[in-house]
């Protein structure tokens, strides 16, 4: 069963990398459910924030804090407003490789 979460209550308007990391830290310290069963609504977040640095920051933080959860983090369902965003995020999730 999917768990819905509105990211606007967690992320702010800081630097995209930092905000992505912040979201990951929040989810890892206050897990609302398994990562791969999360439906994170980003539709009310600024398009300026939703760039590759945000999602790379999110995945990198998961890798650094809980590397065994990286695959589940890649399977998070993201709610996005525009098709180009959905296409980009799907590609970034697939192509992400952590920095070691």
């Amino acid at each position: 069963m999917m768990t819905a979460l509105n990211a606007r209550t967690i992320v702010g308007t800081g630097f995209p990398t930092d905000e992505g990391r912040k979201l990951a830290k929040h989810l890892l310290s206050n897990p609302p459910g398994p990562l791969d069963e999360l439906d994170i609504d980003l539709r009310s977040c600024s398009p300026v924030l939703l760039i590759s640095a945000f999602f790379n920051g999110f995945l990198q933080q998961v890798y650094e804090s809980a590397p065994q959860m990286l695959d589940a983090a890649k399977a998070v369902s993201w709610g996005l407003k525009h098709k180009f965003q959905q296409d980009n995020v799907a590609r970034w999730m697939q192509e992400f490789r952590p920095s070691t």
């Binding site: 300026v48 760039i51 790379n56 920095s99």
Partner: protein, 196 residues
């Protein structure tokens, strides 16, 4: 950065009478470039100067032009300074790190815009931002010009064109101490109106 760019894009959207999706696309593209500048353009030991951002709408032509100029470390300098490259770059430099040296700046910029280029020192977003920008602009049938140090590359729906800004054959002998990215996009809403 987020709020400033949001306000800037909203002003441009009103001026261009553009759709919400178009404005979102511009915000995404500018944010990728600006973030890339902040993350990778900082010179060692120096504070990063905020990049300059400009936008212009041409209603007659149905285009929007976006430009970002930063004064940080140039793309060719970053590429040369990197000591490790991922191996999934298929076009260049053919898996030989040493082969990037001696290449001209246009080639180095083109290399930086490929997918999957990462450097040891800065992992997040390296290359990905520029790659995403170029791919999105191609989809829009627009164009991107990137000038950095002594290189200039133009990306469009055709093959990329790279050249040197200055050479023995030109009168210009100055190099750009930073990076200028100039994006031209077609307005979807305008295109749709023209088709009706």
């Amino acid at each position: 950065m987020v709020e400033t760019l949001e306000k800037w894009a909203e002003g441009l959207r009103k001026d261009a009478n553009a759709t919400e999706q178009e404005a979102a696309l511009w915000q995404f593209q500018i944010a990728e470039v600006v973030t890339n500048s902040f993350q990778h353009g900082r010179l060692p030991g120096a504070d990063m100067q905020a990049p300059l951002v400009a936008g212009q709408c041409d209603r007659e032509e149905g285009t929007v032009r976006l430009a970002v100029l930063d004064f940080g470390m140039t793309i060719p300098t970053r590429i040369e300074a990197s000591t490790r490259f991922s191996r999934d770059a298929t076009e260049f430099p053919q898996g030989d790190e040493d082969s990037i040296y001696g290449k001209d700046d246009g080639d180095l910029i083109r290399f930086a815009c490929q997918n999957g280029i990462t450097s040891k020192s800065v992992s997040e977003n390296q290359g990905r931002g520029l790659f995403s920008l170029v791919e999105e602009v191609k989809r829009n049938r627009g164009s991107v010009q990137i000038a950095s140090r002594n290189g200039l590359v133009q990306f469009s729906e055709h093959a990329p064109e790279a050249r040197q800004l200055s050479s023995k054959n030109t009168r210009i002998h100055e190099q750009l101490s930073g990076t200028l990215i100039n994006v031209t996009l077609k307005l979807e809403s305008r295109r749709d109106r023209n088709l009706q």
